[in-house]
């Protein structure tokens, strides 16, 4: 135990004395969250909106006035034809087009219901969500206004939202789970594989092997500091996203942290596995980036939805562990679901962890060849 603790202490000294390691561990997550926080504004001001009023009646004009005068939007022009919508978006100033169909006012009074369309530029999903949400809030408000005096007599305007360019409209909230998934696999796998291969490169591994330290002690000694630091990291990211984005964990925090620990363990064992097949730090970094970073970004569903992938990529993504963790963490953080809904993914991660650990302990060489 004393040996093990001395080893862990040594690892902490390595980490705290190397400014680059510290930047990777704490700088990158904080920077990512803050950059996202800056880019993703939660309020809008003077967003460009074009109006296409095919009805030109009293109600449509009143609603247009109410929307434009709210202060959130700026009228960028009037359209008269559906074909003009795309050209209008291409100009770049217009973020959304509000469409009142023919006989808008008449439908409202005759049938008690009228449909208006909001077409938003989905290439900036965050702005698009905000604009449609704001517009819908104003329409709701307007509904109460017209319903007020006449009581339930008149009618309801139903806003219908459509997205241009990005019909799925990924919510900006999903980046926090994505960042956690990416950061954890980066720190855990990359850093552990680099630190073990560093011992090989500097020749200190020779002496560690000759020492009475057992392989399990060496591996755990390498893993423990990164496990603790990664865990602190997750809490840091959750706190930051809560403060900056007002994004609380909807589900059980305990469950989330437990799942995160499992994922950290999986990433660490993957890192050890990488180190057993690489003799230099260069190799370890190369394998980590190519073998982990890219699949995590591309194949995990972090950026590109898995459902939209080609079947081959979909199959490949099955063996990419972050794919499962993203499902778990999104479910717990955003949807607020419990273990019942993610037990399958949890089980897969657990099996992967056991597989990686047993392979890496078996592959950890007691000798130099």
């Amino acid at each position: 135990m004393k040996r093990f603790l001395a080893f862990v202490k040594k690892e902490f000294l390595h980490i705290f004395r190397d400014i680059r390691t510290l930047i990777i561990i704490f700088g990158i997550p904080v920077a990512q969250i803050l950059i996202f926080g800056f880019v993703v504004r939660t309020d809008i001001k003077n967003a460009g909106v074009a109006i296409m009023d095919l009805s030109q009646d009293d109600v449509s004009r009143k609603l247009t006035d109410k929307i434009i005068s709210s202060g959130f939007f700026l009228n960028t022009g009037y359209l008269s034809n559906y074909t003009e919508i795309e050209t209008e978006f291409r100009k770049g100033n217009t973020r959304a087009v509000l469409i009142f169909g023919k006989d808008f006012g008449r439908n409202l009074t005759r049938e008690g219901k009228a449909v208006m369309s909001i077409i938003a530029d989905g290439s900036d999903p965050n702005a698009a969500t905000l604009i449609t949400n704001y517009t819908m809030a104003i329409v709701r408000d307007f509904n109460i206004d017209i319903a007020g005096p006449a009581l339930s007599g008149s009618g309801v305007i139903v806003p219908e939202v459509k997205m241009f360019y990005n019909p799925n409209l990924q919510s900006h909230f999903t980046f926090v789970p994505g960042v956690i998934t990416l950061i954890l696999i980066l720190i855990c796998a990359l850093m552990t594989s680099v630190t073990i291969s560093r011992e090989k490169e500097f020749g200190t591994m020779e002496v560690l092997l000759v020492s009475p330290l057992r392989p399990v002690q060496i591996i755990l000694g390498k893993v423990t500091p990164y496990f603790l630091l990664s865990f602190i990291n997750v809490i840091l990211i959750l706190l930051l996203s809560w403060i900056v984005f007002d994004l609380p964990v909807k589900g059980s925090l305990v469950l989330l942290l437990a799942e995160t620990m499992l994922y950290i363990l999986m990433s660490l064992s993957l890192g050890i596995l990488i180190s057993t097949i690489s003799d230099t730090m260069q190799q370890a970094i190369f394998i980590s980036f190519l073998g982990l970073m890219l699949p995590t970004i591309i194949l995990s569903g972090f950026i590109f939805p898995i459902e939209n992938m080609h079947q081959v990529y979909n199959l490949v993504s099955m063996i990419v562990p972050p794919r499962y963790f993203i499902v778990i963490i999104k479910n717990i953080m955003i949807k607020g679901t419990g273990l019942m809904f993610v037990w399958k993914e949890t089980l897969i991660l657990l099996l992967m962890t056991i597989f990686f650990i047993s392979v890496s302990i078996r592959k950890f060489r007691l000798r130099l060849e």
């Binding site: 004393k2 000294l13 020779e206």
Partner: protein, 305 residues
């Protein structure tokens, strides 16, 4: 009991025979040196002794324990200093020493008397990062780390390579002091002058042991009469004497050339020959063979055999 008992050890890397049929033994408390050029197989042999590599052929017992089956036991009893000093450059002198002490299940205090002679040189810098030490100081720290658990056998792979002459000499003085602690030292070096400081040496080349003996006896094994010849223009001299028909061998040796003749004799024809080549200031005298001369002779024999 022999500290190391090696019987017909062989090791191959692919097609290359790194070690070939090595049989030798090392006695208790002696300083046993392996002398040979780079690539002779010294590091491979040391890694087999320290259980880091498995031999392909033969058997070896270290401290009475088989190196293949008893590796766990041996790893507690041997101290090893690899060719590159295995220190953590981002830890201080003291942290390095304490780390190795704890890992080997001891404390710095417990065995301080053992390393006192060595460590006292670097103790004033104990707060300095190991990476910022000079070569000589790094070497002393690495030695202290390898010794801190009081190993019965200390294996040093080229501990003096790249170190200045003063530090080298100091280092050998320190090794000599380990005898009183009954620690056996196995050391390799490419420097011939260091061979004389060992109790026994093995000359090794191309994975084969050419000779094992006390350095003086190896030296005396030189079979011919050796002469040393000098001239202001050493380069012309050596090319000239190598062309002289009576010359057997001629090797540069510091400022002079060591030379042997067939029949162990030379006559005036040598000087006439040299004068004909434009060398008029050649001075020749009989010399005592050094270990390097014997080594070169053995290598020559090995090459023609």
């Amino acid at each position: 009991m022999k500290i190391i008992d090696s019987w017909r050890i062989g090791k191959k890397y692919g097609e290359v025979q790194a070690l070939d049929d090595l049989t030798f033994s090392v006695n208790e408390s002696e300083i046993f040196g392996f002398i040979g050029p780079d690539g002779a197989g010294k590091t491979t042999l040391f890694r087999i002794i320290t259980t880091l590599l498995l031999p392909d052929e033969g058997k070896m017992r270290v401290l009475g324990v088989d190196v293949v089956r008893g590796f766990k036991e041996l790893r507690r009893k041997t101290g090893y200093m690899p060719g590159r000093f295995s220190l953590y450059n981002d830890l201080t002198v003291q942290e390095n020493l304490e780390f190795y002490a704890t890992v080997f299940g001891t404390t710095v205090k417990e065995n301080y008397d053992l390393i006192a002679d060595i460590y006292s040189h670097i103790e004033p810098f104990r707060k300095r990062l190991a990476g910022k030490l000079s070569g000589g100081m790094k070497q002393k720290l690495a030695l202290s780390c390898a010794l801190i658990h009081k190993p019965s056998l200390l294996v040093l792979d080229e501990p003096t390579t790249g170190i200045d002459a003063v530090s080298r000499s100091e280092f050998w003085d320190l090794l000599g002091k380990l005898r009183k602690h009954r620690i056996t030292v196995v050391v390799s070096t490419p420097y011939m002058d260091e061979a004389m400081r060992c109790d026994r040496v093995a000359l090794i080349q191309n994975g084969k042991i050419l000779s094992v003996d006390e350095p003086d006896k190896i030296r005396q094994g030189f079979s011919r009469k050796l002469f040393t010849i000098r001239s202001a223009d050493k380069y012309s001299l050596i090319t000239a004497v190598r062309k002289y028909p009576g010359t057997l061998t001629a090797y540069p040796f510091g400022e002079t050339v060591h030379i042997t003749f067939s029949g162990d004799l030379y006559d005036d024809s040598l000087f006439r020959y040299l004068e004909g080549m434009g060398i008029k200031d050649a001075v020749i005298s009989e010399a005592e063979a050094g270990i390097e001369d014997r080594f070169l002779e053995l290598m020559e024999k090995g090459a023609t055999a």
